[in-house]
Amino acid sequence: MATMGNERDFLILTNNPLVPACMEGKGKYTIRFCPEKSYREILVMARDMVYAGHTLYTHPLSGSVKPNETPYKSVIVSVEPHGFDSDQGEIMANAIAVFDKFTPIGWNLNERILADFQLIDYTLLAGAINFDAAAGISNQSTRRE
């Protein structure tokens, strides 16, 4: 069983393709890649898991990029439920309330900007769990070539 705080207990919920591309198979964590889910749906998924007793490991509003700007979101919850924590439930509920107050933007984001958003989300996630973000990217580039 994965004990709390152990890397084996990290379940990464993400819709950011850069996360599996750089991190898959490089650690003891598990990645649940949901490309079809929106930023908000990732938050909702995380919230429901926290409500179901999973531990929240990273803040759902990581990064200062506003939730109506980037389509990408990664949140880490525990693989195992360790019991409901009401403070964490509140953090999740508040994050969704924050998402809802931003005015939707009808952006047509080009590939380069999407790549920047992916990079920011990925590096914040990597930073949170001491994963070498730069190494992850270069390994990924090698694989791509």
Partner: protein
Amino acid sequence: MVKEIERAGIPVVHMCTVTPISMTVGANRIVPTIAIPHPLGNPALPPEEEKALRRKLVSRALEALTTEVEDQTIFEV
């Protein structure tokens, strides 16, 4: 949502698996239930027993509705 019903002047009992959430949303009468996907049932039980369980839970909820409370109260089953 329970709060809006309460605000309209109708006593309401919240049957909910994660009682802390119920507390946060401001429910005053709370009855804890079995599990998120089946709050008022338990698929592991034979049908009669499952229904008996549900009767017990709903009875408790009715009891909560007939009990005066001053503050948020959890009615353990």
